[in-house]
């Protein structure tokens, strides 16, 4: 069990390798993953004026002249915009910004790379968006906790999962950073949306879209096939899709965080020694 941390794309990405491979093999694998992320950042970053995406945005470069993979990403984002009723829109800000797609997709591809190298049991966690393959150890599922978006030191959900992905979009990490493309305003009705599914690209994009939808998100999420979802609104109310209950870990969260299980400030007779 070794966790490597790759600093790239403005964040720290944890690469958790569970195959017990030799250290050199693990380092080679992590290097390959790091190189992939570096290419993705150089190509898609909106912070780099020389990236392909920045040049496309300035009309310095026509989409037809861009690398094939970039063209594919833009097309895929358009398909996802339609799938999400327009709530996932890489042009919501008026500029071309596929970051909401690229992060999850880059992790998804990195996970594929690790499998190709033979690292079949691993997890990659990029700022709370996670792709898991295989198992953490024989006979055990991956146990993933979701940080409570409103309570600083608490976990609000714990799930046990086989291979798959967990994506959380919320206001806790970066403030109200997701726009509702239909109104142009910041999405503030929901504190966080978590989606569990087979593929991190879709899970991440749908979580971002659902956050932008606000109060109509549960109705949309409930109809999605093959994905389980969990929502905390700005008032702390929770909603989960029917598929989520079977994934919940068999533990009482409150046992592990006394702060959540106790009702606030109930007066108690204290025993003073």
């Amino acid at each position: 069990v070794t966790t490597h941390v790759v600093h790239t794309m403005g964040m720290a990405i944890s690469v958790d390798l569970r195959d017990g491979a030799r250290a050199e093999l693990e380092h080679d694998a992590v290097d390959e993953v790091a190189q992939w992320f570096t290419w993705v950042d150089e190509t898609f970053s909106t912070y780099r004026p020389d990236s392909v995406v920045s040049r496309l945005d300035r009309d310095d470069l026509a989409l037809g002249q861009a690398p094939a993979l970039v063209q594919w990403v833009v097309e895929r984002c358009e398909a996802l915009r339609l799938e999400t009723d327009g709530y996932f829109d890489i042009r919501a800000t008026g500029h071309l910004d596929p970051s909401g797609f690229v992060k999850g997709w880059a992790v998804e591809r990195a996970s594929d790379l690790l499998v190709e190298i033979g690292m079949t049991n691993h997890a990659i966690n990029a700022g709370g968006d996670i792709r898991m393959r295989g198992a953490p150890e024989p006979g055990r599922l991956w146990r993933v906790a979701v940080a409570h978006p409103l309570v600083r030191d608490a976990v609000c959900l714990v799930v046990d999962l086989p291979e798959g992905a967990v994506a959380t979009s919320g206001t806790a990490e970066r403030g109200a950073h997701v726009l509702n493309p239909h109104t142009g305003g910041a999405a503030i009705e929901l504190a966080s949306v978590t989606i569990v599914g087979p593929d991190l690209t879709v899970a991440d994009v749908y979580a971002t879209a659902a956050l932008a939808m606000g109060s109509r998100a549960p109705a949309w999420l409930a109809d999605l096939d093959g994905l389980a979802s969990y929502v905390v609104d700005a008032g702390g109310n929770e909603w989960s899709s029917p598929g989520l209950s079977g994934l919940r870990a068999d533990l009482h969260i409150a046992d592990y965080q006394p702060a959540l299980g106790t009702s606030p400030a109930r007066p108690k007779t204290s025993v003073v020694g």
Binding site: T3, P136, R143, V144, A145, V166, Q257, A259
Partner: protein, 126 residues
């Protein structure tokens, strides 16, 4: 969400002093395997400043986490640090006791902490 105000808990300043006087925090080079090992992670920068932690493990079990360094330059950072140190410690030990492998949707400070913690754990394992 204001990181500095979201907990109701009132907590003291980070306890960076006096490692628990356990029997075995010693002997970096040994002939016998010590039951507990301590390692200090690298300094990680987040938007509020540097974060560095020291972890103690017994076998593969995390037994303690201490903040060695937390942001303190500005008042806002100090407010966060006062609460962050005990909370981060609590989070790490909680995750360990519940066998949690991964955290989704972690907040900024936790993330920075996690980097440092993981690096420290790697150092312990080597």
């Amino acid at each position: 969400v204001n990181l500095a105000t979201s907990s109701g808990a009132t907590t003291g300043p980070p306890t960076t002093s006096a490692p628990a006087p356990s029997a075995s925090n010693s002997a970096p080079t040994t002939s016998t395997t010590p039951p507990e090992k301590t390692a200090t992670g690298p300094v990680e920068q987040n938007r509020y400043g540097p974060v560095q932690v020291r972890v103690t493990v017994r076998g593969s079990t995390l037994v303690d986490v201490q903040a060695v360094q937390l942001p303190s330059e500005r008042q806002r950072s100090a407010d966060i640090s006062d609460q962050a140190a005990p909370m981060l410690r609590h989070e790490a030990l909680t995750a360990q006791s519940a066998n949690i492998d991964l955290i989704s949707g972690a907040t900024y400070t936790s993330e920075s902490y996690a980097q440092s913690l993981q690096a420290a754990l790697d150092a312990v394992r080597q």
